[in-house]
Subunit: 360 residues, 2 copies
């Protein structure tokens, strides 16, 4: 007979855990009518606001007698959205939601509004690939760095199949985890591969920030460290026809620097809402006099994507015009919406359907 | 010549990003003298406190003219610690630190105080294994669940080597990521394997919470779903001599339920500061009349670990006495410290040195 110390533990718990932790809340919850309820415990708060990219404006939450603040939002378009609470002016992630937006400058939570659950980024009943953390030596940066690698369903490290590779770069204050945790690159790939709309591929998600090193060192890290590491350690095809590079915002600018300066190494360059106001971009493209014919010959696909509400919309239109003025062939994906991860997922899904396809 | 819209972007940035985001801060920073500095931007705050498990009491932070609050802490024993800020009564994770404590009920940040960087949990210059996210079907819970799987350096999915497996369970409000993000199970294994002190093994880190299902359903999920999935999809040895189960707090109680009720399936059962006030534990052990001789014969190792400052210390001492009163052979690891992840890492390092070793 193994007995716990019931009375003692009750006292200890009430004095210890209870004092350390608020009550367990379920937040967010999907309701039977498809609306979502957000909950936050703050008995001493004067006001609590819900901020979310599914809201046009912050929503005031309602307090109950136990100090739990609640907001219910209906008719949200199915997608994955960042949100956060604001208690008396202090912004914070949802304490009860384990899905956190991987970012260096803020903490946000993530809610998936599933709808019928058939979105391209949703966990569906299809074969699933794996996402793994890899630790690679960066000679460029003289350190060991972490990246995520997606391998498709049925992947065999020592099998006969050899795969193409997409190098996928996050935004400026994001991390190597953002394309997985927020962008759902793995489920988008799983679903498109299962539907026969994308080729089985590896997706390599490096950490694109190299502060305090100059940003151009990341380009060197990709070319000199990451690609050789991947090609030495995974069953991939190591030629331009089987390499793609894509990225969002600052990573979209890095994509242009990495891809267009190395069209002998990448046949697919897909830039999402690129941020191009960088010293590296100016050095590469400021006085650019490209051999457009050679670049067009090397590139199987060059795309620029942006939303009409993106604060970079005009800038990207200018990039598009400037590249075309140089005789560079490119495809544009102009969408609704802004500089958001909702759009990132759309751009990636479009890209995955296009790269590594039979020659046009 | 590709030119960005300099003036427009400057205006848009100042009106857009600047309004959305505080200035970039580096926090925490290790200083030349080995002290650590924490920074938090809150121009409107009256008071900001630093809470950390390296502090005996919260430390008041100092505000500078720009609204940046700073605290510097010296002489911290090298380890990995949870910490958080408290702005005017609101507790939140460090917005500038991407290392977040994976937990369902709070958001904390994590700081590694490296010292000479030679701690068993530190990233060292040794061969590194991989940690991968796996999605497995749980018939028990009728859903697809996520778990993390550590594979050791040199692991080959289709090679000749077959590995033993440790099933490692988190605490009550933690997640499947906590043993990786906070417990550093991968680096502890990398370092001990490199030193020849641990056998190459897989470490499977499932999600132990099954709310609203009864906790006992997790035991069924492990036995009926997780173990068959791992043994069908990884090169492992599927017998008791090559299976271990370990866990912390609520997971330490689950470890006793899973392991001691199934000594035909696990030869190694290692419970860290177990929480045993559960219906499942009462049902299994309340009127337990074990065949101690058979259990002792089956178990190669049974350990109970706890810290002398742990709020469960007396409870675990009672567990130890009760198991011994039933004739069950066990080894105890009594340490300093409390119910913390600093102790979790110590217990895991001790366990990894003991399991899957040649017969005693």
């Amino acid at each position: 007979m193994i007995r716990p110390l019931t009375i003692l533990l009750t006292l200890l718990l009430s004095g210890c855990l209870a004092a350390q932790r608020p009550p367990r809340l379920s937040s967010p919850d999907e309701n039977a009518d498809g609306s979502y309820t957000f909950r936050y415990y703050a008995p001493d708060a004067d006001t609590v606001l819900l901020h979310g990219e599914f809201l046009a404006a912050p929503q005031i939450m309602d307090r109950d007698a136990d100090g739990v603040w609640t907001a219910t939002v209906a008719d949200i378009e199915p997608d994955i959205y960042p949100y956060f609470f604001e208690q008396d002016g202090v912004q914070l992630a949802d304490p009860n939601n384990t899905h956190v937006f991987a970012n260096e400058r803020f903490k946000r939570s993530i809610v998936e509004v599933r709808g019928d659950g058939a979105q391209v980024h949703s966990l569906q009943d299809v074969p699933h690939g794996q996402v793994r953390y890899e630790y690679y030596p960066s000679a460029t940066l003289d350190t060991t760095r972490r990246m995520l690698v997606y391998t498709p369903p049925g992947f065999e490290m020592n099998g006969n199949q050899r795969y193409p590779v997409l190098y996928l770069i996050h935004g400026g204050s994001d991390t190597e985890e953002t394309w997985y945790q927020v962008g759902r690159a793995n489920f988008i790939a799983d679903n498109l591969i299962a539907a026969g709309q994308a080729e089985p591929m590896l997706i390599v998600m490096p950490y694109g920030n190299v502060r305090p090193a100059p940003m151009a060192d990341f380009t060197r890290d990709v070319i000199d460290d990451i690609i050789p590491y991947i090609e030495a350690n995974f069953p991939v095809v190591g030629d331009a026809e089987h390499r793609a590079v894509a990225g969002f915002s600052v990573g979209g600018g890095q994509t242009l620097n990495i891809g267009l300066m190395n069209t002998d190494k990448f046949a697919y360059v897909c830039s999402y809402a690129p941020w191009t106001r960088t010293e590296e971009f100016q050095r590469n493209f400021g006085d650019w006099e490209p051999d457009a014919a050679a670049i067009n010959e090397n590139l199987r696909l060059f795309t620029l994507s942006v939303g009409t509400d993106d604060f970079l919309y005009e800038s990207v239109l200018q990039n598009i015009a400037d590249f075309r003025a140089e005789g560079i062939e490119l495809e544009t994906h102009i969408t609704d919406g802004g500089h958001t991860w909702m759009n990132c997922k759309k751009y990636l899904a479009t890209t995955l359907r296009q790269i590594f396809q039979p020659a046009r």
